[in-house]
Amino acid sequence: MAESVQPPGPDKRIRPFSVKRQTGFTTVAIICFVALYAPILTLVVFSFNAGESIANWGGFSWRWYEAAWANEQVKEVSVRSLVIASCASAIATGLATMAALGTTRTRPYRGLTAVFVVINQPLMVPEIVSAVALLIFFAMIKIATGYTGLGYLIAAHTAFCIPFAYLPIRARLESMDLTLETAAADLYATPWKAFRRVTLPLLWPGILAGAMLAFVISLDDVVITEFVKSAGQDTLPTYMLGQLRRNVTPEMNAISTAFLALSIGLVTIFFFLSRRRK
């Protein structure tokens, strides 16, 4: 009997299937990573170029970051971008939270699918179509009211940010245990108190994720902004597009790299916030 006993531990000859051991896996993976990150890496590297070229390396320097920092126009469009993104993502997240509650915390009703479609419309309508539609629609309002402020851009950004804020919030709500809210009601919490004390605290990671996503999407938008903006209402992306049409210097690389750092920073903050909540 004793000699037939297997040594403890997994049998080395039988390994579970793993895609990692398929022929060519490493090659394909490397190609994918290069395609994804080589352009970004080049952009970041050349933002530190001491020379004027975005293709020939002339040594390390911070000069283009200094140039961008000193550029009043860059500052102005950056602030405008941040203002629009903050307002639009805040409004969109508020609306998206209500929409998510309205579509998950009710008995299923007729036309619920239609409601999903309406809320997620910006994901399906080509952006250029929305852009043209908004341009024409806002032109009519402009003529009627004479108002030419940032409100148009904020409204437009809010509209296309809603689905991006809505999706993570709804996902969070759907994964939440409904009996928690029932339990709160059972323990004398009025609907509002149950929402404030139980639903909302548990929903925070979803709301935060939605807000972050909306913020980044708004910050990044070119097409709709380009169509809707009035004169002198350039945002960072449309300003960069304008500059690229003229002469290209590593200043653009520097601005882009700063932009990238901001995005990564936001995602990192969110990641740690949501981890701490768990």
Partner: protein
Amino acid sequence: MITISAAFAEPESIVSERKSAQPLAFRAFRDTLFGPSETETGGKRLAKAAVEARHVTKAFGDGPERVLALDNVSVEIRENEFFTLLGPSGCGKTTLLRLIAGFDHPTNGSILLNGEDISHLPPFKRPVNTVFQSYALFPHMSVADNIGFGLEMQGKPKAEVAKAVDDMLRLVRMEELKNRKTSQISGGQQQRVALARALAPHPKVLLLDEPLSALDLKLRKEMQIELKRLQNETGITFVFVTHDQEEALTMSDRIAVMSAGHILQVGSPREIYDRPSERFVANFIGDTNLMEVEVVSVSNGRARLRFASGAETEADMPEGMSEAKSVTVVVRPEHAQLAGTGDNGVLSGQLENVVYFGTDTHYHVRLDEGVLFTVRAQNVRGGAEERQPGARTDIVFSELAVQVLRD
């Protein structure tokens, strides 16, 4: 036969017996927690209804998909009682519990709490708390915050909430875990927190929705005793939902057996077990031997019955069945015995199978009329010799063991 007749002694007023047997220390502890309970100061008010369902119907869906979860159910749950709703899944027991809690509202009929119609009150206005099957503890709050939640929502001052939380923690023996997150404690501990949270606002009625089903066997046994202790100490009416007949029998003062949206029988565990009124109740609770027997005569509610073997016995006839020509009777396996030499057998047949269980042995006997009959015998040292399968045998039982079912 002596053992059987003893088992049949009528369990008059089990409730009052248990209450008076309650140790003084328990009562003192409860009184410091909640103040003296009304039933004890009121003396005769013991049998007062805490919860009453009157002709309650609950339908889900409409049109052809309409399902009746409860069909004209009426039941009275007394104050201070450990009342169990027992039945298979889908019988409507959880629906009835949800109607009492206020999570759903009856389609027809009404729910009364201490004589007051609460059918249309939302859950947060009912002095009734629930222990959920999944516990439903708030994951973002500490153990103490969970327990204090109900009192806080009632607007009680902070100091009072803190004191009640400490009392509750002591009651469920969880003082050391006060500041833990609910995700950092074991399933059994979560169960205790869920109980403490529901008991803290001192509800009129505590509803328990299969709260023990997620626990392993050993922990479940412990919690059964714990629940019984809590009910004694707090004097709160417990309405307990389960599909586990053993759990129901060991814990309840009274049981309502439910099936397909109806309450079939309400009674003490002993009444339900010994005197099942219907085939479903007899089958659902415990092991049973069911037999068709001929009715020879009926007088004054007593019937003379004749088994297929020709033996006759007497039994109580359910109301409204005096015209029946034949009825179904139930005999519990432990109320019957294999005949020894010299006994006059009631039934006879061939021993098919002997199953040894340690504490007792089951004998499966194929009766001459073809029905399989099980006899359960306690194993005692120096008891009768082991019977071998294939042997002829007679079966004896007293007429007290025979219960006629309403069909």
